[in-house]
């Protein structure tokens, strides 16, 4: 069975955001780096600030429509998650080992 990994913001202080039109400046509280992001990325960060989510939930958030059961996230969503993880703004939650 496929295990959907859930993603969360890195750091306990939360990512700081300033939104300007369709772009966002984001401050990483762990690395103290500043990133310029588009609106989609900001949407993901704001959603994760309310709690962890998996890629399908993020996909649903970005597309604005319910995802088909069992389908995988759109490639663009996966790429966005990968990019946000690569710059250290989000991370995958640890997966519990099978019992």
């Amino acid at each position: 069975m496929e295990i959907r990994r859930r993603f969360r913001l890195r750091g306990t202080g939360g990512v700081k955001l300033y939104t300007f039109d369709d772009e966002v400046a984001a401050f990483n509280p762990v690395t103290w780096d500043t990133h310029l992001l588009d609106a989609s990325a900001a949407l993901v960060l704001e959603a994760l600030s309310r709690g962890p989510a998996d890629s399908m939930e993020i996909d649903r958030l970005l597309s604005g429509r319910p995802a088909a059961s069992g389908s995988s996230a759109a490639p663009l969503t996966t790429a966005l998650i990968d990019q946000l993880a690569a710059v250290g703004l989000i991370e995958a939650e640890p997966v519990d080992p099978p019992r």
Binding site: K16, Y18, F20, E23, A25, F27, W32, T34, L36
Partner: protein, 307 residues
Amino acid sequence: MTRLADLSVDALTALLAERGLSLDFGAARARIRSEIDGLAPALQRVYGEFAHDADGAFHDVTVRLHSRRGRRFGAPRIEMEADADVLFQPFPSDTHLPLLEWGINYLLAQRLNHRLLLHAGVVDLGGRAVVMPALPGTGKSTLTAALATSGARLLSDEFGVVDLDDAMLHPLVRPVSLKNASIEVMSAFAPSATFGPRFPGTRKGTVSYLAPDARSYRERHAAVAPGLVLFPRYEPGAKVLVQPLSKARAFAKLAVNSFNYEMLGPDGFDAVGKLLQASLVFRLTYGALDDAIEAIRDLMSRVVERE
């Protein structure tokens, strides 16, 4: 209090040699000691509206200019000392004021870390700040000087001092540094303004300074709310061109143009964010000061209309 311009050269020379001249720039204070001939009249010229701050107990910067010791041959040289460290390589003895000004800039950029320091010219135009961040050579100081001699209040030609809580701009009033061609440009633009002596042959070419006016000095503790963030660029012969710039792009440019953004971490991030939220942001390309000032006044009227 007595203006430096009204002191005798002998009195100022004695003050520099003994107790030290205490100057209040607004956002910072400096104590200056010197035994260098010629510095007192140069200071009187460019800090003429300032008074010796005899009650100033704390100084962000304390410096001393003196002749380089132990040198027997070659042209006389001077050094600047701060906290027992000698800053920079020795300068020719006739470039005392540039050494002093650059040394104070260097020290302030390191020490004023309770506020965000942008590398920017800043003026108060009708009660709102025009912040002009720019790299050296883009005409930032010349445009700042032109605005300051056209009715705007000078805050600084070098430091945008941004409050971390509310992004208000604090004055750091000092003479405006002019280099090479901009000296002639400003002399023609504002013939009645007070300029200091010219210092040819420095590492930046010929340098001179525009003295802050009385109002800028008098209101050195009056912070001003942000209004415009402009990224100026001088191009000879260019018609004035105003282009909107996205605030996210401006965010990156401000961070790069700051002396201490990275050091301040989340506080610096918030200060830039608040500054941009409260400002309109543009690129300004200009070839003539009059046109640039007219364009800036027009942009500032948009700021006022927005409120």
